[in-house]
């Protein structure tokens, strides 16, 4: 089950408001490669995993991603506090503001609301772990792109941390695949689906 611990994984203390940056960073909240998709993907995939290492990996990384979702929500919240109307207009923030004011809503920077179509649960060990490898790379690229677009050191500090996590997760998913492979048919890993076949 889930227990909440009343602290962030890494400090988020944004000194300067920046609604324009907030409307970019929101993509890591509700965008196709963001933390909401990541956590739901991993926490959903774990049920059909046959080996304990993979159940643990998906549970632990999925849980960590919820903590990252919280950090992104915090960044967006702090970037949009105490806004006046001129700041909203200057930031190009109006389309988001009209529907959500300065609430934190799971959407992509494009305005598309979060969609489960951005994640997959195929119920096959190799397909799901390969999907996870791809997901971590896409998240890493999104963080690279945020770092290109942002020159706020407080924001970049937290974003760098989140990006580094994606690389570590990629490594662990790759290791999970290696461990699984050792238990599968040596000549043909695709003979059966260990997530389904007895």
């Amino acid at each position: 089950m889930f227990v909440y611990e009343k602290k962030l994984q890494y400090p988020v203390k944004i000194k300067n408001i920046n609604p324009k940056l907030a409307s970019i960073i929101i993509s890591q909240y509700g965008g196709p490669d963001g933390e909401l998709g990541a956590s739901l993907r991993y926490l959903s995939q774990r049920y059909s995993m046959p080996y304990p290492e993979l159940k643990a990996l998906l549970t632990d990384i999925g849980t960590e991603e919820l903590g990252h979702l919280e950090m992104i929500g915090t960044i967006v919240h702090q970037l949009t506090r105490n806004l006046n109307e001129d700041q909203i207009r200057a930031g190009g923030f109006e389309p988001y503001f009209v529907d959500h004011t300065t609430g934190v809503y799971p959407t992509a920077a494009s305005g598309s609301p979060w969609n489960a179509a951005g994640m997959a649960v195929k119920g096959d060990l190799i397909a799901d772990l390969t999907e996870d490898l791809a997901a971590e790379q896409k998240a890493r690229v999104t963080y690279d792109n945020i770092l290109r677009l942002s020159d706020d050191p407080d924001v970049n500090d937290a974003i760098k941390f989140l990006r580094a996590r994606e690389i570590v997760h990629f490594q662990r998913f790759g290791e999970g695949l290696r461990l699984a492979k050792d238990r599968m048919n040596e000549k043909n890993v695709y003979l059966v689906n260990p997530s389904f076949d007895q």
Partner: protein, 160 residues
Amino acid sequence: MENNPETNKPSAPPAAPNGCGAGQGSLPGRCGALAFPFVAMQENNPVRFSRMEALQTGTLFPGLDLPFKAAIQAKTQLKNTALVELMALDFAIDELGLYLVTHSQDQEALQLYWSYIKLAQEGRQKYQELYGPLLQTDLTPEDGYAWLKDPWPWDEGGNA
């Protein structure tokens, strides 16, 4: 060379005969199966950052520190508050926990993990006496339902 969790210094592993070095891992051998994605396996007892460096970098392992060009800048200096120290300790625990999922036989890492868990118990005590409960079920010296109290973690900086 032992890593002493008290001194918080980074460690170097004993030289292994087939050691690949910090930024590399092991592959299945000269040949591997076709049509399968191989990620090199991180080796046992890898080189580690100190806990504070690990938190600031985003990983406990120098081998996995692969920064982006737009962000190669002077490492951030986090303040040494009770909260940040606890974050660093909990982060090392999370990182080691993930490592141990795929390296459950690494005895040195397991010992380090338990020693950090014990340290974290003290770290939580210390933090909670200053700032209140971390879990809804934590007992604190406060009167009333301290769990409710501001700041919550997303409020400007929480208690960092």
